[in-house]
């Protein structure tokens, strides 16, 4: 495929995914409240009802576009990405509807989402590290693949706490991944990564403050799992780890402070407090989980928009470090 065809395919892929997610989300924003499928927005006075879950719009558009790209390229790695996304999104959809009460069930089930990568053998057990290149991890790498999808998709799920945080975060975080895939170069996976950014961006229009729809676990798990699958099959694992550091550190800090797996809806002590002027403040209760939002708010109360803006700044910083990692890995 020559360069002009590649640019055309990438552009069409972006435009089609963006339009599909936009239209489907718009339809969900209108239909879900009529069916009573709404949840309270806890970070606003009066707790307004917001349509939920918007994940099916993300999931459907991502899977449609990835399937078309698989038919164009015939690359099993793209099929793996689609399958990982379907399985993780479906687990999220079940959780949205049935609610897994034990915190370990969801990460446990998400191991299933890793299987397409292993069964289709679309991984390479020579991950590429900055400075010293690829290393052979023939035994441990498949085990890391099994763990990676649950860890990354749960990390993205845990950052989905404020209006627009998840969708905006995914847009920023995917940019260095596409940059690394372009530089490697791995054009098939680079084009396959574009729907992730397009879908997140289209969803962000409805998800930003004040949210008209929440993605739910179906959206957050699908986005996280797809990000992870792209990183593994595209062999840009280290760049992906650096890019997604704010989410990884957020989930790590939560798990280490509550000492175990627990559903966020089951956390007894809230990490933040809603003030009468609608600003958010950090809880000073020592038993409150040390979330990223609480750590941002420790400096003083902020509006929800300001907290989300701070999360985006951290994501941009991580994305910058991921770009440096890319340059060190493939240009030095």
């Amino acid at each position: 495929m020559n360069q002009s065809d590649l640019i055309l395919l990438a552009s069409v892929s972006f435009a089609f995914t963006f339009s599909l997610t936009y239209l489907l989300t718009l339809a969900l924003v209108k239909t879900l409240p009529k069916k009573g499928s709404v949840v309270e927005d806890h970070h606003k006075q009066g707790k307004p009802k917001v349509a939920w879950p918007g994940g099916p719009a993300i999931l459907f558009s991502l899977v449609i576009v990835e399937s078309i790209l698989y038919l164009i390229y015939g690359d099993l790695r793209i099929l793996s990405i689609a399958l990982v996304t379907i399985i993780a999104g479906s687990i999220g959809l079940i959780d949205d509807r049935m609610k897994f009460n034990r915190g370990i069930i969801k990460p446990g089930l998400l191991i299933l989402a890793s299987l397409p990568i292993l069964l289709l053998r679309t991984y390479n057990f020579h991950p590429i590290f900055p400075i010293f290149g690829s290393v052979r991890l023939s035994i441990i790498y498949p085990l890391l693949v099994l763990l990676a999808v649950p860890i990354v998709s749960n990390a993205t799920n845990m950052i989905d706490v404020l209006n627009g945080a998840l969708s905006g975060f995914m847009v920023i975080t995917t940019i260095p991944l596409i940059f690394a895939l372009a530089l490697r170069p791995d054009h098939a996976i680079m084009v396959a990564a574009i729907p992730l950014i397009a879908s997140s961006l289209a969803f962000y229009i409805f998800h930003k403050h004040p949210s008209k729809i929440f993605p739910g676990d179906s959206g957050s798990l699908a986005l996280g799992a797809m990000f992870c699958a792209i990183a593994i099959v595209g062999r840009v694992e280290i760049v992906a780890i650096i890019a997604i550091l704010p989410a990884i550190l957020n989930s790590f800090f939560i798990l280490s402070s509550i000492k175990g797996f627990i559903e966020h809806r089951n956390i007894k002590t809230r990490p933040t407090i809603l003030l009468p002027d609608s600003r958010l403040a950090a809880s000073e209760n020592p038993s409150a989980p040390a979330t990223l939002v609480r750590m941002i708010l420790i400096g003083g109360p902020l509006s929800e928009r300001e907290v989300v803006s701070d999360i985006f700044k951290l994501s941009a910083f991580s994305a910058f470090l991921a770009v440096i990692t890319t340059l060190v890995t493939w240009c030095v």
Binding site: P130, I131, F132, P246, L249, F252, A290, M295, L314, L321
Partner: protein
């Protein structure tokens, strides 16, 4: 941003230590004894896990320092 920067540096440093210093360890050069080869590999795994635990402890310490300083 500081914690993210430190985490980034630690990923670099940790991977350097694991792949440049730990992986080449060969306590029994030239041996074909499976038991000795197994112990050599086990040592590498233990050292790598130890490093990962140190990474986790550093991150927890940084978080606690950040929270205590700001509160």
């Amino acid at each position: 941003m500081g914690i993210i920067g430190v985490a980034w540096l630690l990923v670099f440093l940790g991977s350097y230590i694991i792949f440049y210093l730990i992986v080449p360890i060969d306590l029994f050069p030239g041996t074909k004894d499976y038991v000795l080869t197994f112990f050599n590999s086990l040592l590498k795994v233990v050292l790598s896990i130890f490093l990962s635990i140190i990474w986790i402890l550093i991150m927890i310490k940084l978080r606690d320092i950040y929270i205590k300083r700001k509160l």
